[in-house]
């Protein structure tokens, strides 16, 4: 399915944010000059068709008392799939990507205490095929804004 000009406008507004009012979709509809029903039914379709990953709240993990890190893993080529599968089992690991460099798996871990984080990393370090891990923590988060301007 191709996105229409209306879909793109709607998705741009939805990415910018849902207002804190009793009828937020009606507020969007007013901005677009259409009915609330049209907005709701179209969004349900766009969600069903897989264009929308998630509508919801995105929290700042630091402010909730959690801290995240990015870990890069060097792995023997034959073990990448096994290790990736094991890594995916941790609920604290939210993203896990295979990339085209010496460190083949890149994953993020979000925990609310250092003990748990160290435990996860040492368990992964001990998996067969894992050569080394880089724990790449961040001090300054300059930007987190996953918003795609659809034209």
């Amino acid at each position: 399915m191709e996105l229409t000009a209306f879909d793109k406008q709607l998705l741009n507004i939805l990415q910018g944010g849902v207002q804190f009012v009793p009828k937020p979709y009606e507020a969007m509809a007013r901005q677009l000059g259409v009915s609330e029903d049209r907005v709701i039914s179209r969004l349900q379709e766009l969600k069903k068709d897989g264009f929308i990953r998630k509508v919801g709240a995105f929290f700042n993990s630091d402010k909730l008392g959690y801290s995240g890190t990015l870990v890069a893993a060097k792995i023997e080529p034959d073990y990448v799939e096994d290790v990736a599968t094991k890594i995916n089992e941790y609920p604290e690991i939210t993203h896990n990507y295979q990339r085209s460099c010496g460190y083949v798996l890149w994953f993020t871990a979000i925990t609310n205490n250092d003990e748990r984080r160290n435990q996860i990393l040492s368990e992964i370090r001990a998996l067969p095929g894992v050569i080394s891990l880089l724990d790449l923590y961040s001090q300054k988060k300059y930007k987190i804004n996953v918003q795609f301007k659809l034209k």
Partner: protein, 157 residues
Amino acid sequence: MNFTETDKKIIRALQSDFPICSEPYKVIAEDIGISQEELLQRLEDMKKEGILRKMGAVLRHVEVGFKANALVVWVVPPEKMDEVAAKMCAHSEVTHCYDRNTAPDWPYNFYTMIHMDSKESCIEFARELSKETGIDQYELQFTEREWKKTSMQYFME
């Protein structure tokens, strides 16, 4: 950081899918057992306090036309970092921008995630960022496979 039980209930309820219906906050407030007014007020507060980054949608970027994405890792002199970050963050194609620590075989201390329509445009865009900032030691890493991408579920213990 101290959160009340009500705060935790709100956070738990909102981190899953937000209803697409006429009065979504009412649905959530009823589930939690508070009034809609209280919920909306608390959300305003959390937004102001920076606890809530965004209440809205994240799209599936490949499906909406951003077919290629790359992690671009840079070596930026620490004293130039804020200035370089400001320039890079000004571009909407840059969705994430962080500093990070280095390792003996890993000199890169600055990370940007870029989203474009093709690999070629990622390469071209990184070249432009490099020209604009004067940072010429960098590497593009393309995503070869997405093994997992979820949202963190907070306060589940």
